[in-house]
Symmetry: C2
Subunit: 356 residues, 2 copies
């Protein structure tokens, strides 16, 4: 009873790689904090992956990433007894709900969503090649959110418009068929996006991202973390960026606001070296990662734990989704159409048994 009164929250990631420091400060810390007072659904959004990476060799990488991603979240302190992890593609009712919600959203509305164009560009998809799946992606996301009847959706700023579309789906549905869906609200992360390290071509000029090759992974061993952090520069260009310099953003995220301000002054005054700054940040990052790394190794050694967590959560998500779908079908009249046919068929079968 107490469980049910907690607000429902849905969040998650596409299984396109292991999780990294950007996820940690941008969303994982938040998930750990929110799990106590919220009923959390954490989606492993493999169908979303298909919207931009449908090729078989691309999808072939997904099973490994699914495992890494759940393992990372458990290692960070997300408690599977509090949270429902689930695999999106294995919840059949989500497809039904997505198709039904598509009847309610104008195509022109989705064409206004800027993030879809960036996603298409990032996937090297020309405007002409943009698939229906990508255009309809916010509706699929709406189905994820609404099937869980979630009211809170922690997302990055670039996903805010998608949550607006989920609200519109819910509100048009409620208007046409009667109140069913609570209107979800986006919970925008306040922490600025962590920049990458300078290992990839995009380097620390872009936000940390699996696909840009500039990420420090939660599973990276200490020496690898040190090497990666040592690529952060603090030259004339960085100085011009001021507090937005990548090195200082790392310091703020992992050492502290005051310490980062001190570090900036000392670097600018030449009273501390870049190597010392690297050491300071490395120590703080490794202090955060050490317990995560330790738990990660223990959890990884517990054979089948990650899979069991995801399978059990998916079974739970299916129950919730089936329940919501049944209510949606009922509200639309689809359920009474089918159950009316079944009732007449059953009455006919019973009538056959009557002797006279």
């Amino acid at each position: 009873m107490v469980e049910a009164s907690k607000p429902r929250l849905l969040t998650g990631d596409r299984p396109t790689g292991a999780l990294h420091l950007g996820h940690l400060v941008g969303s994982l810390d938040n998930r750990v904090a929110l799990q106590h007072d919220h009923e959390c659904f954490i989606i492993v959004a493999d169908l979303h992956t298909l919207t931009t990476r449908p090729r078989k060799h691309e999808f072939g990488e997904v099973p490994g990433f699914v495992r890494e991603m759940v393992l990372d979240q458990l290692a960070v302190g997300i408690d599977p007894s509090k949270v429902t992890f689930y695999l999106q593609s294995a919840v059949p009712a989500v497809y039904d709900l997505a198709v039904l919600l598509q009847m309610l959203v104008p195509k022109a509305r989705l064409e206004q969503v800027k993030s879809l164009r960036s996603m298409a560009r990032a996937a090297a998809m020309s405007d002409d090649a943009m698939t229906m799946g990508l255009l309809a992606y916010p509706v699929l996301q709406a189905a994820d959110i609404l099937m869980a009847r979630a009211t809170i959706v922690p997302v990055g700023l670039d996903n805010e418009e998608h949550i607006a579309i989920a609200r519109e789906c819910a509100s048009v549905f409620n208007e046409l068929y009667g109140d069913l869906f609570p209107l979800p609200d986006a919970m925008i992360s306040r922490s600025p996006a962590l920049p990458g390290v300078a290992t990839g071509p995009a380097g620390s000029g872009a936000k940390m991202s699996k696909s840009l090759g500039n990420a420090v992974y939660l599973g990276d061993p200490p020496e690898r973390v040190r090497e990666k952090l040592a690529t952060l520069t603090y030259d004339a260009g960085d100085r011009r960026l001021g507090d937005e310099a990548a090195l200082l953003m790392f310091a703020r995220a992992f050492v502290g606001d005051a310490e980062a301000a001190d570090l900036r002054r000392e670097l600018d005054a030449g009273s501390t070296s870049l190597a010392a700054a690297h050491a300071l940040i490395d120590e703080a990052v490794n202090a955060r990662l050490a317990p995560i790394r330790e738990r990660r190794a223990v959890l990884a050694g517990d054979v089948g734990l990650v899979e069991e967590t995801l399978v059990d959560g998916t079974i739970r998500a299916r129950e919730v989704a089936n329940h919501t779908l049944a209510r949606a079908r009922d509200a639309m009249g689809l359920e009474s159409l089918w159950s009316g046919l079944v009732a007449a068929t059953e009455a006919r079968a019973k009538a056959r048994r009557r002797p006279y």
Copy 2:
């Protein structure tokens, strides 16, 4: 074994009203003929209805129409022991397949489909209000066709492009994930569309259509048929249309080509009256409708028969659809992702039982 070697065919209608003479000559006669040498799936496409009529009061009419439509088809001579009638919305795997196929079709391709714009206009939907559901309608139709692995799809000329899209879905899927779907071919009806009678505002100038109010229904009693046929004119305007005059098209469809040519000559020469022409056509139409009407009454009196036919067919369609979906998921890698997780979970459960 002989059953399985027959080519599979999928056809059907939206449940937006009872069937009429236009359906009879345009498609039902064809279905009756094809059922012997084909394994036929006849869809009652209620999800397609939602693409243009999503409002609750609109959908409220659907259950009655579903019943009428199946009853009409049984009355015409479609044999439920040969044919699988099924309710689209009650086949869950169709939604899954539709969502998966959307990942493979460019949005720009669907924007080229002219019939969608006419459907939007007919539904009084402005360009801006066209829903995702309507734009994605050919993909949903592709899911219907491909879930049945149908190779033959009898359709009207206005639906030919939709079958082209189903072919493209099949061919892109096969290319990306390996051969699974046979490429479906449209079988375009050779009989010209029957015009309406002059009962609605569009009258006999448009093709016979439920929504235009110019239809002679298969269930109409003889006197109603006579009244409706008597609205057909043969004035100066009709004379200019020549063989395309509605009256003559009825004569060709129900009396015969030679008789229609004679009738035209006699009407033009003034040697026969319009009343005599009406009587000739009425006699022929009623000769076609009398046995249908008789069977319709018998079938309607067999309480639960229509419902049982549709429920049993839907259960059969579900089996076929589930089988196809399992193969599609398998080809894409979705099935091995899920079954891998389940296998690891099962191994973990077994390991728990080991004493040491």
